[in-house]
């Protein structure tokens, strides 16, 4: 049972930060940005490069996050702002194109093989009954820390108030002297940082490869949509739900249902489960489960 909860926790950590980044930026720029998952891959690879250049990992990670934040702003200003003028669907297709181009860059620069951070190997430790590695615990700590910092930023600072004001009513916020474009790009920067941090967290616990982004794409979207796109902290709840469902699917013995002693679904059905939840959530509540948005006539 404890192992189950720790599995859920680890999977939540995989998804949470990228989903929070996606959700954050959606509150200001109304289209689902697919390229965000590639920012996560970029973050982990940049951290790897910088570590290879001789920086200690924490410094390399921090620098990578800032660089990816910058990349996110750059892409937003040069590409997405322009595409969004033609509609959210066009912008989404554009983000898909950016995703493919980034994939090509990763492939050329880093090659198709999986890589790892240069880390000391630690023995597996037992917390209660669950087996965890130090690196997994670090990733959990990083995620929790980042979410708390983000929550403080959103709800305790002037910047956070301006962000929420702009998200609620851009025109009104602009009238009170808020520079909407500056705020938007700040949030874009933040989303890039969050995604990169999420990617580094993913890579800390195992390997990184260029497929990482596409692998987490739909689970991350599922978490963000379940949490109500635009609701940053809802995305964390969404990630918990998705992680629980995925873990349940592969850990429950379906044998008794079909009259056999043991029947487990293949592991790849875990992600399929999150897609299924995504579709179901979209069917039931088009705007996510934690947002009460009145549809305009």
């Amino acid at each position: 049972m404890v192992q189950f909860f720790s599995d859920v926790l680890i999977r939540t950590v995989d998804l949470a930060l990228i989903a929070v980044g996606l959700s954050c930026v959606y509150s200001l720029i109304r289209f689902p940005n697919i390229a965000l998952v590639q920012y996560a891959v970029a973050g982990s690879f940049l951290a790897l490069l910088l570590q290879g250049a001789g920086l200690p990992l924490p410094v390399a990670g921090l620098l990578a996050c800032l660089l990816v934040g910058g990349l996110a702003v750059l892409l937003n200003v040069t590409v997405f702002e322009r595409l969004l003028a033609s509609g959210s669907a066009i912008a989404m297709v554009g983000s898909l194109a950016v995703t493919m181009i980034l994939s090509a860059v990763f492939l050329v620069v880093f090659g198709p093989d999986s890589r790892r951070f240069d880390l000391d190997s630690h023995p597996v430790i037992r917390v209660l009954d669950a087996r965890l590695t130090v690196h997994q615990l670090t990733a959990v700590g990083l995620t929790a820390g980042a979410v708390i910092v983000l929550a403080l930023l959103l709800f305790r600072t002037t910047l956070g108030r301006s962000m929420r004001a702009t998200a609620t009513n851009r025109v009104l916020a602009a009238a009170t002297g808020i520079d909407a474009r500056l705020i938007t790009n700040t949030v874009v920067f933040l989303s890039g940082v969050l995604a990169a941090l999420g990617g580094i967290g993913l890579a800390l616990k195992g390997e990184m490869n260029i497929q990482l982004g596409m692998d987490v794409l739909l689970p991350v979207f599922a978490a963000a949509i379940l949490g109500g796109l635009g609701n940053a902290l809802g995305a964390v709840a969404g990630a918990v739900i998705i992680a629980t469902a995925e873990t349940l699917v592969t850990n429950v013995n379906l044998g008794p249902l079909v009259g056999e002693p043991l029947l487990f679904l293949p592991a790849s059905y875990a992600t399929a489960m999150s897609f299924l939840i995504l579709v179901a959530a979209l069917l039931v509540r088009p705007h996510g489960l934690f947002v009460n948005e009145v549809k305009r006539v």
Partner: protein, 296 residues
């Protein structure tokens, strides 16, 4: 070299069918479908499952068509209360679920290895004539589907679709049932994609889940955006252009002595770069949608 040319042309015709069918959804009805490859998959697996169970190719075509029509109806149902971008994500998810299913359900689909050994179309003809006849058949079907799509979108019905695409609220205030109006192009598009899938299965003689990656959907998207959304000729032109460009990438690699990653990276760059360049600088594509003119 000649054989290769015939091969690329055949593939271009098949992708031309897929581009036409996606154009019906995206270009005319404004339905942002990111799971289009699943409709194609209905066609390939219809052929493969009928072959594995020895039901014959006609049953395979019917099976594929029926599955694609059902899937299209499911897509349509899902679209009833979703915005365009959400619907895109939902269709992408469904395509991925189906691919996962195809990978894991060995008993039905042959699992990750897929189903091998489907009979070639015109397999009995001698060397250059078999592939040529296949190309001819694909080209004829492409022409037929093109004519069908033209007929569909050039009449009053096409205008209704365009009105739905641009001003759904106005369309429904005039008495158009949006759900029904969306259903028809989706089903027709699904059937065309299933035919393409059936032909593809009997052309390559192998059906597997790796043919159904979402990257294929995105490839079809790039054909549409490059060729011209909302223009049937543009869709077909885009399919030929992209297919020929991609087919010659390996030759460039060999000529320049580049590593094998280059091929994959170049394909991604062509598809992604083509999409992005046209979205940014020539949104209407190579052959823009026709606006105005006479309608029957």
């Amino acid at each position: 070299m000649f054989e290769f040319l015939i091969h690329v042309s055949t593939m271009a015709c098949l992708f031309g069918l897929l581009a036409l069918s996606l154009n019906l959804q995206v270009g005319f009805a404004g339905l942002v479908n990111f799971g289009h490859i699943a409709l194609f998959g209905c066609g390939t697996y219809g052929a493969a499952i009928a072959f594995a169970n020895q039901w014959g190719p006609v049953a395979g075509l019917l099976l594929g068509g029926a599955a694609a029509a059902l899937l299209a109806l499911a897509f349509a149902r899902l679209g009833r209360n979703l915005g365009a971008d959400y619907w895109g994500i939902a269709t992408l998810s469904i395509a991925e679920i189906l691919r996962t299913f195809a990978t894991n359900e060995q008993w039905l689909t042959g699992g990750a290895q897929g189903i091998h050994g489907l009979p070639m179309l015109f397999g009995s003809l001698p060397a250059p004539w078999g592939p040529l006849a296949t190309l001819g058949l694909c080209a004829v079907l492409l022409a037929v589907c093109w004519a069908l799509c033209q007929r569909l979108v050039n009449g009053r019905y096409g205008l209704a679709l365009k009105l739905l695409r641009e001003e759904p609220q106005l369309a429904s205030s005039l008495g158009y049932d949006l759900a029904a109006l969306r259903r028809t192009p989706l089903v027709i598009s699904g059937l065309i994609a299933a035919v393409a899938g059936f032909l593809f299965a009997h052309y390559t003689t192998f059906v597997g889940p790796d043919q159904l990656y979402s990257a294929e959907t995105f490839l079809i998207w790039s054909m549409l955006i490059v060729g011209g959304l909302g223009n049937n000729l543009g869709a077909v032109a885009g399919a030929f252009l992209m297919q020929f460009l991609l087919a010659y990438v390996p030759f460039v690699k060999d000529a320049l002595g580049l590593p094998s990653e280059f091929v994959a990276a170049m394909r991604l760059t062509l598809v992604g770069g083509g999409l992005l360049a046209f979205l940014l600088w020539r949104t209407q594509g190579l052959i823009p949608e026709r606006i105005g003119g006479r309608h029957a």
